[in-house]
């Protein structure tokens, strides 16, 4: 089955232009000596340095509590670093005016570990929301969103509310919402945590397909078995610092 996002994006409103567009080979993400802490607490990230080139696919690995989710929070612009520089699509996040951040966020698809679905909306409405906030009308995108939900195996749950869905089903709704806008950067925080191996593989294949279409992908996971099945490099996070490791498969 063909990944349905191309048709969806044609019907959705075009994303807002970013003031300084990235050059073709410019890093999609660049971290330079980045540190992060929550309030006055201890530093979760101390000195993080890495770049994500365009169309790359990385796993973000590391033990529980290493700061994978915190690093992703910096990437999807939920927090600012306590020190260092973060560039996303060539924009220094800390120096970007607040009014321009939504346009950057729309180019980033995020699969949250806790799904973050809106409880009173149906699966269809939750997924459509990613396009509606960008200016699309629900009637325009309804069919495409439904197609995406069918593609992730939720044909029967299109009108179901999150509370009536299992953890795995909620996760697939969250994935559909993250990829419906064909983001330039896809961030996934433990996207296979609530699904069985077969669905986990299917989700990773979906991410690979998006990656082939040009999306830069970063998947945070501690599922070593899954990581070993794909030939993608790893960003290992340990003691608040990152190191780039070669793919497990073929290494």
């Amino acid at each position: 089955m063909q990944f349905p996002t191309v048709a969806i994006m044609e019907s959705a409103k075009k994303p807002e232009p970013i003031a300084s567009a990235t050059s073709p080979e410019r890093a999609v993400v660049r971290f330079e000596h980045v540190g992060m802490r929550y309030g006055a607490g201890p530093e979760i990230l101390r000195d993080v340095n890495f770049t994500l080139p365009p169309r790359s696919f990385h796993f973000l690995t590391g033990p529980s509590g290493a700061g994978k989710s915190s690093l992703l929070k910096l990437l999807y612009l939920d927090h600012l670093p306590s020190h260092g520089t973060i560039e996303v699509f060539g924009r220094n996040v800390a120096a970007t005016p607040r009014t321009e951040l939504p346009a950057i966020r729309r180019r980033i698809g995020v699969v949250f570990q806790d799904f973050r679905l809106i409880d009173h909306l149906t699966a269809l409405e939750n997924v459509a929301l990613a396009l509606i906030v960008a200016g699309a009308r629900f009637e325009q995108v309804r069919e495409h969103v439904a197609e995406m939900l069918r593609w992730v195996g939720l044909a029967e749950q299109i009108h179901a509310k999150p509370a009536t869905l299992s953890g795995g089903e909620q996760q697939r709704v969250a994935i559909a919402r993250a990829v419906i806008g064909k983001p330039n950067l896809l961030l996934a925080d433990e996207p296979t945590g609530s699904v069985d191996d077969e669905v986990a593989m299917r989700i990773l294949y979906l991410f690979e397909e998006l990656n082939k279409m040009g999306t830069t992908v970063l998947v945070a996971t501690h599922n070593d078995k899954l990581v070993s099945r794909f030939a993608h490099p790893r960003l290992e996070l340990q003691d608040g610092e990152t190191s780039l490791l070669p793919p497990v498969r073929g290494s």
């Binding site: 939504p102 346009a103 149906t122």
Partner: protein, 295 residues
């Protein structure tokens, strides 16, 4: 296939904002009464000033020498006034008319033949004339020492001050009602922001602008306030009509002569959308200010 009838934020179910329409209804009710009062007073003031503009009154105290002497005084004053270039006409009220004017205060005593009453001369000035009142008064006193010229300034000045105070109080009621309504909306918006914090975070993270979120709050606030405003306005109109029926015949400083015109009704009608607009702006600013604290 279902259409998306559900708002992103279920603000309709917020317990914290349910009281808003009722509070706005009370505020609009009070505002409408205050505004109507201010407009009635304003109308009465207009009536007083236009009615008295261009007129003078001369009081002539009774002459101790008797009625004939008093009539002589009146004739002298009339002659002097009619010779003035600024006077269009001067007409003396006869004794019966003067007694009739005192009747509301003195009752039947005013008609007692032995009671000396001052006599009045009604003076109408020529259009646009602005005579030197002090000089005219001096000339009158010189001719008839018991004559007093009244240009109504002192009486009118006091009445205007009183009317101005009432209008200021009415305006204060309007301002306080608007402030109370705005505070209620701000409180409700803050409570809703807290209730829907998680959903707002999600909207934010998937790329919603602050205004996308604020619009949902301001729309809700506008609807609630307009609904409350219409209820309050309806109740106020019923009250005003009832008051008009009850007190329409009561003469008090000419208030019964004041009529509500289309502009007056329009001013009252604007209170309902005005309340909606005030709520819209209050909710929008509250939400935008709160969201601005996020990155």
């Amino acid at each position: 296939m279902a259409t998306k009838e559900t708002a992103d934020l279920p603000l309709r179910h917020d317990a914290a904002s349910r009281f808003v329409p009722y509070l706005i209804a009370v505020m609009v009710y009070l505002s409408a009464l205050a505004l109507a009062g201010a407009m009635v007073i304003g109308g009465a003031v207009g009536g007083w000033t236009s009615g008295l503009r261009g007129t003078l009154t001369v009081h002539i105290l009774p002459n101790p020498a008797g009625n004939a002497a008093t009539e002589k005084d009146i004739a002298a004053v009339l002659a002097l006034l009619r010779a003035e270039k600024d006077v269009a006409s001067a007409k003396a009220l006869d004794e019966a008319a003067s007694r009739a004017l005192l009747k509301p205060w003195l009752g039947s005593t005013a008609a007692a033949p032995g009671l000396p009453v001052p006599r009045l001369i009604d003076v109408t000035l020529k259009s646009g004339a602005q005579p030197d009142i002090d000089a005219l008064s001096a000339r009158l006193r010189k001719a008839v020492p018991r004559a007093e010229l009244d240009d109504h300034r002192r009486w009118l000045g006091r009445l205007l001050t009183f009317a101005g105070s009432l209008e200021t109080i009415a305006l204060l009621v309007l301002v306080l009602a608007a402030a109370a309504a705005a505070l209620a909306v701000i409180f409700a918006a803050r409570a809703s922001l807290a209730v829907h914090k998680r959903a707002i975070e999600i909207l934010h993270l998937i790329g919603a602008h602050d205004t996308y979120i604020a619009v949902q709050f301001q729309r809700r606030a506008f609807m609630q306030a307009t609904m409350g405003g219409v209820i309050g306005l309806g109740a106020a109109i019923v009250s005003l009509l009832a008051m008009g029926k009850l007190f329409g015949g009561v003469e008090l400083f000419g208030l019964s002569q004041v009529r509500f015109g289309p502009l007056n009704w329009l001013a009252l009608a604007l209170l309902a959308p005005g309340a909606g607009l005030l709520a819209l702006v209050s909710a929008r600013l509250t939400v935008l200010r709160s969201l601005a604290r996020r990155i």
